[in-house]
């Protein structure tokens, strides 16, 4: 009979090897158990439940505004809560704030680095956050004085050890959540720059994140180059659920409006829907003819439509319940790199490597 493992014993070689092997076996057993438990509840497919739902008719969506001004690839964009302003960031280091109604540029900042891969609007509308190859996330308060140099008031908030891939304010201007090529996500206090919580678990670059709708509580989802989508508890730093069904990098994740599910877009050319309470993938949005990666996804207000921006320059619009494509939109002249539906759901905006942003609406 072996005595229980004590810290001193852990340093001896023979018990250590046996313990490692034992842990590996337990690991494999648990993984199998996890799959079994998930499979037990897989009694039906989402599209079967939606069989009797009325199909969606013809969808005509058109570009109503084109925002021109970036000198290079647009990498990221975000809407202001006022439903009219947009912040966008580009490979050439420029961050621009636009009035999407008039297409006027209201502010412009030149970052000290190229490839500004992440940008976000503060909930108050009074600041924007951005970062990229500088490995940081910085906050710029937006001045009412158009002549004021925004860079002067810049606040460095987050510090990672590799590129910043995404950032998002939480429900206030006071905290920012970031994801990075260093494989971690982190929560920061904007005022002090203090690290409040870090999230470890991805085995490679984290490429995207999305916060759960505020009614659902303090969680967020992240996606990475390890093909995993992880759901995190913001307070404890714990990964509470993990999904690994994609076959390549996950470039974008977005919560379903009710907070009970989330969608993902991947380099494997598919979008997928994961239900958090069933703890599994419940739909795949793909077609044999779609072979290019998805860079960004977002839902319409009711969650019935899923918009995907693709590397083949198109936007595919999916019926979330039935799993079918309802529309394909052309217009951009290079990869669609970013896509967000406006806060009131009346429009969605796309950014592209063709240097422009487009605002689209439903024509009816």
């Amino acid at each position: 009979m072996r005595s229980p493992l004590s810290p001193e014993m852990a340093t001896q070689e023979v018990p250590l090897n046996e313990t490692l092997a034992h842990l590996k076996t337990e690991s494999e057993t648990l993984k199998l158990k996890l799959e079994e438990e998930r499979a037990k509840l897989h009694d039906v497919e989402l599209h079967q439940v939606a069989e009797k739902v009325e199909g969606l008719g013809q969808f005509v969506m058109k570009t109503r505004r084109t925002l021109k001004g970036h000198g290079n690839k647009v990498l990221c964009m975000d809407w202001c809560k006022d439903k009219r302003r947009i912040v966008s960031s580009s490979q050439d280091g420029k961050v621009i704030v636009w009035d999407a109604f008039t297409t006027n540029k209201e502010h412009a900042v030149t970052m000290p680095c190229t490839w500004v891969m992440a940008c976000a609007y503060a909930p108050s509308g009074c600041a924007v956050a951005c970062g990229g190859l500088d490995n940081k996330c910085s906050v710029y308060p937006l001045s009412l004085d158009k002549n004021e140099n925004l860079a002067a008031k810049k606040k460095s908030v987050a510090m990672h050890t590799n590129y910043l891939s995404a950032c998002s304010f939480t429900n206030s201007d006071m905290q920012i959540l970031t994801s990075s090529g260093d494989g971690t996500c982190a929560l920061w206090d904007v005022e002090s720059g203090q690290l409040l919580q870090s999230f470890h678990g991805h085995a490679a670059d984290v490429l995207c994140l999305d916060l759960a709708p505020s009614e659902t509580g303090n969680t967020f989802v992240s996606g990475g180059c390890d093909k995993k989508a992880n759901v995190w508890d913001m307070r404890s730093g714990q990964c509470i659920q993990s999904f690994e069904t994609h076959e390549s990098d996950i470039n974008s994740v977005r919560y379903y409006p009710s907070g009970d599910a989330f969608a993902s877009g991947s380099d494997d050319a598919t979008c997928r829907l994961y239900d958090l309470r069933a703890d599994r993938e419940v739909a795949i949005y793909s077609k044999e003819s779609i072979i290019f990666g998805v860079s960004s996804v977002d839902f319409s207000l009711s969650g019935r439509l899923l918009f995907g921006g693709y590397n083949d320059y198109t936007i595919n619009v999916w019926d979330v319940l039935k799993g079918t494509r309802v529309s394909i939109l052309f217009g951009h002249e290079n990869r669609v790199s970013t896509l967000r539906v406006s806060p009131d759901g009346t429009a969605f905006c796309t950014g592209s490597w063709d240097h422009t942003l487009r605002v689209w609406i439903l024509m009816c």
Binding site: L23, L46, R304, T346, C364
Partner: protein, 72 residues
């Protein structure tokens, strides 16, 4: 000494992985049929308020001004 610390860290990693898997295995789950029904109901209940699904009158859509000019 370095052998021991490398072994200790792989042990720590393995323990962490098992702990994480135990946590994930213990998650309470519902059937896909129930989860899907709730997703479907949410869509249907909110369909009327979804401008990209149903459309809104031009006067309510800031990106689509009401038709007021005629091109000759």
């Amino acid at each position: 000494m370095s052998n021991n610390s490398a072994s200790n860290s792989s042990l720590a990693l393995a323990q962490k992985a098992v702990k994480q898997l135990r946590l994930e295995a213990s998650v309470r789950r519902i059937k896909v049929s129930q989860a899907s029904a709730e997703l479907k109901n949410f869509c249907l209940q909110n369909a009327n308020k979804d401008p990209l699904l149903m459309g809104v009158p031009s006067s309510d859509n800031p990106f689509r001004p009401p038709k007021s000019c005629v091109l000759l």
